[in-house]
């Protein structure tokens, strides 16, 4: 069962399932290492509904909550508290 990245609790590792964004935005995300199949973790949320700080591989990224809504992720079992870079980024073919 997947949920939007915006609702993923802090410090829980999840796997990116789909990116429901335009092609250009998807390319930029891919440039930063954010693509289907990779492990992702929310580090912190900015107050006043500001951006999220997420970690993908060795890169920390900030993105707006309105964009995070369109990224669906699936929490990985028993990974709470483990950094995203610890969970091996397993590759699944893009849907």
């Amino acid at each position: 069962m997947s949920l939007p990245l915006s609702e993923l609790p802090t410090d829980t590792v999840a796997k990116v399932v789909t990116l429901e964004v335009g092609q250009d935005y998807r390319r930029r995300m891919a440039g930063l290492g954010l693509r289907p199949g990779v492990a992702i973790r929310v580090i912190r949320r900015s107050p006043l509904k500001g951006p999220l700080q997420v970690r993908v591989g060795h890169t920390d990224i900030i993105l707006r909550r309105s964009d995070a809504v369109r990224i669906r992720v699936e929490p990985m079992p028993q990974t709470r508290g483990v950094p995203a870079d610890a969970a091996h980024p397993e590759v699944v073919p893009a849907p």
Binding site: R27, G31, G33, R44, P47, I62, R64
Partner: protein, 594 residues
Amino acid sequence: MKRIALLGMPNTGKSTFFNRLTGAGARVGNWPGLTVELLSARILLAGQMVEVVDLPGIYNLHGFSEDEQVVRRFLESQPLNLLVLVLNASQLDRQLALALQARHLGVPLLLLLNMEDEAQRLGIRIDSAALERALGVPVRLLSAKYGQHYREALAAIERSLKAHPALRRADRRALEEDQHIEQALDRLVQASVHAPVQLPPTLSERIDALLLHPWLGLPFLLLILFVLFQAVYALGSPLQDGMEVLLGEFRRSVLDPALAGLPSGLRSFLAEGLYDGVGTVLTFMPVIALFFVALAIIEDSGYLARIAFLVDAIMQRLGLDGRAFVMQLMGFGCNVPAVMGTRIMRSRGLRALTMLVIPFSLCSARLQVLLFITTAVFAPTTAPLVLLTFYVLSVLLAMFTAFIWRGRYVNREPLLMELPPYRLPTLRFLLHEGWRATLQFLRGAGGYIVLGVVVVWFLTHYPFDAPPASPATLAGRLANGLAPIFSPLGLDSLLAIALLFGLVAKEVVIGALAVIYSAGPDQLPGVLAQRLDAIQAMSFLLFILIYTPCVSTIAVIRKESGDWRLTLLAVAWPLTLAWLVSFAFYQTARALGY
């Protein structure tokens, strides 16, 4: 001549490498068919002159952001001997994607894995021989910042140049089609990069726990910016004053005696027009240099991205972002470097909107005028309240302006950026940035500023037999003609002339008032208190706060945007607002019987 281009993602130290390679000789220049200026330099490599071009940082060769299109257009139109791809060695897990795209271009390629010191600290091991084999291009490790392995990188560049003497154009097809490289990327990373399962907790994370704290983050941000602001202007103002003293001394002891024999009109043109114009340009130099050092500290340390994180919630609603916030805040010292600082923004719409907003920041020149007149006219108890009103108004008008024009100048850049680890900028880099910004200011905006000062000089001094700034001059006649516009604000034509002077630089208003009322600096407060009641004074000050920025600010807006329409708007919009606000205030106050 041979040509090399540097390509890489943002935050890879590509520009640091460029600086090290080219020294201080780099200049920004236009390229055929490109909408932005690129930094380039000519250097001697392998016994030949080589042109080195620093391309904008991009994430993807096939993307549609402005920078990505610029890079594609450059590669399409400009043949190269060598494309040097600079990647961040600690982030090869994603950055090698750019190498996979670039090797299809058909241009000789060299891969530099920069920041190897950082990768080493994180325990990341890179098998560059495996990378060379897999990609079929030379690969070198390097730390551009501290110069480790710089010689080897340089030697590799020279070797590649010798091996590829002919200029080659990139394959257009490779630029157009978007390959699916995800699986190739994963295979490549697995074969050549060995990262520990879990990266060690970094110093950056501990600093972020404090600086990005939910409640403490914003107070820390304001504190840090306040300290930098104080440093820039506390160091810059004495330097600026010193420059003015020097200029005045030069004029008294050298220029005036030298010009003594000339006809009065020509003498006035040379001394009060041209020389003062050049002087205006020169007095900006210290503040611009220091400002860009401060900006380089914020940007290069990695804090700028954190500022975006902290203030985005507020700024996004205004169509702006964290970088605009920094510039607007720094604009309270001086608008000119703040406008130049918008060049760190990549989206044109965002830059334009920020340039419209910055002039509402109550700069120190306007503060001088406001302070002088409020202390002259208002009681000591009300004067601080009046000043506070101006600061609040300054922020409100900036927000209002952003709100009105955000639909016209749209920020198309989504907030999706890397939060790089904190890095200590090197002194060498900071000095380099300050120096380069100052040179660019002199070359770019200097001419416009001198021109602006000369125009205002002409208006206020012609005809030459009339006393300067008197009603008989062009400015006086203009002010008389504009009387129907200014009288509803409670301002007479003498004050209108002073406003015209204020275009040169806002602090000139005081000097102009002294000339206009033929009062010495010590008598001026008394004269002002006599001539203006509180309501008139307030109306005058409101106008000064809001109306058209000084010629220097207009000149840098023109230079930085390259857009006359925006420049015109930056003149007309504040003028309109100033009139409306002063009008509303004056008429309301009078109607209420004050």
